[in-house]
Point group: C2
Chain length 481, copies 2
């Protein structure tokens, strides 16, 4: 693990310098690993709100906050902030070919000179006006311009965060911005930045004139490995509708990306259409592969950049809180709460997820290791009002969750309950093991046996001591008459 930057904060109620953590003390240890709430709360704020709510009920809890980012909007800025790096302002071509004031960052650490880029800063859904949301025409040309600028600046390494994209062009626009020529079967170059639809006539990609520094630079891409370029779970079909595509546009786009996938595969001598991450950010992953980039699972890459590793979960915690703006079936497909839950469950830790909205089929998350999730809403209200009150709602919701947990903790452990698997979803092995122990942890089972053992030992010792006393007088009499 290189280039890691610690942004973790562990707090205790006192303001004095943090005492060394004594794991052998018996205070409650709580880990808070949220995502931000999109367009509402920054992940640091989410973590702070949860802490505040928890402390209302368990003031002396030892709380470790690990605010997380998903590689989408704000990832670059967060990483720059945490390393004391610098941001570069640059105007690039937006997803609907409009000029966009964008940014990329340069890390502030002592490693190789590294640029960090959010694809969303150049081609995010937020940059596509609502009335122009048509992923068959939006382009990643601006992403290429950000990479170009970073290359010109002489960086040795580029980190690209995927997520929140408003495009579905397979990264074709990006390739063009970096000098690649997209050719039809007549050898004519396709016009620049025309979006995914234009790929239906693609016959070849000429990489001769790509920026020469691409050969020297290491590109790492943090992307969702559940996203693939083609097929029934391909990016056009899974994300097309939420980016504004009609059913007909989805199928047209899927066909165009099939064509694109074949050509990229041919260029790389490897099938990319179903490679994990090839469909990330509307297929940008596939385009980045053509630049020699290394795709990495988002959670793994980003936690490494931020200096977080799975030892986190090994650290004697009792409970994990996570959070995201919305929890639904897609959460299990690589979103932060599910990534956290799977890891927490490997260590048998219970996980509670707080969400602005609990969406369709959210109960799939029980299979991912989330023990309970809840919406922070306090009654019928508009999205606008909810976003306005989000901090208060989140604090209160964390308090309520903690109240229920403590209520449960106060129940007599001897109450028997049958193990229940309420939701018929596939449970990964570690989660299943943890679920089986839900009624009683191993530690607790041990504790239940232990008093009897110690009592037995004590009685034996007493017996032997008295027996010794006795036999010193009349050895023949050690017998039950």
């Amino acid at each position: 693990m290189h280039h890691s930057f610690n942004i973790l904060t562990t707090t205790t109620p006192s303001e004095s310098p943090e005492p060394p953590l004594k794991h052998e003390d018996n205070r409650m240890r709580i880990l808070i690993c949220p995502s931000g709430f999109k367009e509402s709360l920054d992940t640091h704020v989410v973590a702070d709100c949860i802490e505040e709510g928890v402390r209302r009920i368990v003031p002396d809890a030892v709380i470790k906050k690990v605010p997380l980012f998903d590689g989408g909007e704000g990832f670059a800025k967060a990483l720059i902030t945490s390393t004391g790096g610098t941001l570069r302002d640059i105007t690039i071509t937006g997803p609907v070919n409009q000029p966009v004031a964008s940014q990329y960052g340069l890390l502030g650490d002592n490693g190789p000179k590294t640029a960090v880029i959010d694809m969303a800063a150049a081609a995010g859904l937020r940059l596509v006006p609502k009335d122009l949301r048509d992923p068959t025409v939006t382009t990643t040309y601006g992403v290429g311009e950000l990479l170009f600028a970073a290359l010109e600046e002489g960086v040795e390494r580029i980190l690209v965060g995927c997520g929140d994209s408003g495009t579905s062009d397979g990264g074709a626009g990006m390739l063009q911005a970096l000098g690649a020529r997209l050719l039809d079967k007549h050898g004519h170059e396709l016009p620049l930045a025309q979006g995914g639809k234009s790929l239906s006539t693609l016959a070849d990609i000429d990489r001769t004139h790509l920026h020469p520094r691409l050969r020297e630079v290491e590109i790492e891409v943090a992307c969702n490995f559940k996203n693939v370029l083609c097929g029934p779970k391909g990016v056009a079909r899974v994300y097309g509708p939420q980016k504004g595509a009609t059913p007909a546009q989805v199928e047209m786009l899927a066909a165009a990306l099939d064509t694109y996938g074949l050509i990229v595969s041919r260029k790389l001598g490897q099938t990319v259409s179903s490679l994990p991450g090839s469909g990330a950010s509307g297929g940008l992953g596939a385009g980045l592969l053509l630049l020699g980039a290394k795709l990495r699972p988002r959670y793994e890459a980003i936690t490494e950049y931020f200096g977080i590793n799975d030892d986190l979960f090994r650290d004697n915690h009792h409970l994990v809180f996570t959070a995201e703006g919305k929890i639904d079936a897609q959460t299990t497909q690589g979103k932060i709460p599910a990534e956290i839950a799977v890891r927490a469950k490997k260590h048998g830790l219970p996980v509670i997820a707080l969400a602005g909205t609990v969406g369709d089929d959210a109960n799939a998350n029980y299979g991912a290791g989330i023990d309970a999730y809840t919406s922070i809403m306090q009654g019928p209200m508009t999205l606008e009002d909810a976003m306005e009150a989000a901090e208060r709602l989140l604090r209160d919701s964390a308090e309520t969750a903690m109240r229920m947990v403590m209520l449960g903790k106060s129940l007599n452990a001897d109450i028997h309950t049958t193990a229940s698997a309420p939701v018929p979803v596939p449970v990964p092995a570690p989660a299943a093991a943890a679920a089986a122990g839900a009624g009683m942890t191993k530690t607790k089972a041990y504790k239940k046996v232990f008093p009897s053992l110690s009592m037995f030992t004590f009685v034996c010792v007493s017996f032997l001591w008295l027996a010794a006393l006795y036999t010193s007088h009349d050895p023949s009499c050690i017998s039950l008459k």
Copy 2:
């Protein structure tokens, strides 16, 4: 306790005849005592939904459902249903002097012939069209008509449920319908059914011509004892605004009810303005006092009618669920969740409340003995959508609460947490005692000590037995050398 009718249902997962409850078995025992959700879910449905959600997590729980009514809308009908009584249809004068198809009931039990009346069936807020909501003019005349009909029918006893009123006339309209004459200082009779505003010119009440059977009949009123007729916490100021009064109308109404209160007090030879229940249903309580009625605290009276008593809470339960459409500061003022919580806390039982809406200053309920409350919402939504989905939302919310409780139950009991009193509200004595034990119930504290005690006893017995063995040989040697 007479005239009680059992509507309780205790269910176990099997469909077979209910086995006798073995309190010594160690299954989880849960009590579900909800109110209905106004204009959305009937209290029986609320209880069923909560049971279903709980059973998803603890399938073998022993669950006792006690759906409750607050004396408002639907109280008479529920009591008639539970006693196999009959409903009488009758058209009366509504709160805005419109004809209203109303009902009263006759109990079906073997006691004295008893009528039961919801005041809301004749003068409820629901009967006041939204654009006519002005509690200075709405009247309880129709309530008097219901009583009149019951008297004519020859009943010996009348139960009146207060709640959900749309009036604030002190019951003046009711008195008029029963034959009383309201007189101004010139001895002129006030016009009929003119609402609270008209009471400002009241100088005397002539009861000479009241229905003669009122002298023979016993009237019991189930009303909220927190409601008083006059003063800063008087009914005009507390409920006027939600019945549609402007601030100016509130003060005018308060002054008129002060006048009314003085005259009622003079007639009864007792100050009624601050008597508990005198302000119930817009002061209807005061008017009923003038008829010789007995006011009773709502929860106590209604649970008696339905055959519920506080032994309920003594029945070895581990956890209580309650619910109401809205939980806010007013909930502590005699609403069902708070009444349940106060009683549950006397027996050290933890209480969770589920609500459609968590309203202003809801945290006052922590002081009443509710350990945790939550809204059943799953995201921003309209009231209409929430009411449409209410059953599903309630089931899911009960499941989530139970998940958090079981999560807490699985935590190691040895985790130490400081007791916290998160909300600075007055805590009644029983609730305070329970709160102090929140981290650990008395039972659990006892259990922690008990193994040591039993071990000690065993060791002593062993010691004495060996000592006896020993001394049978050489009595002089009982000493530690």
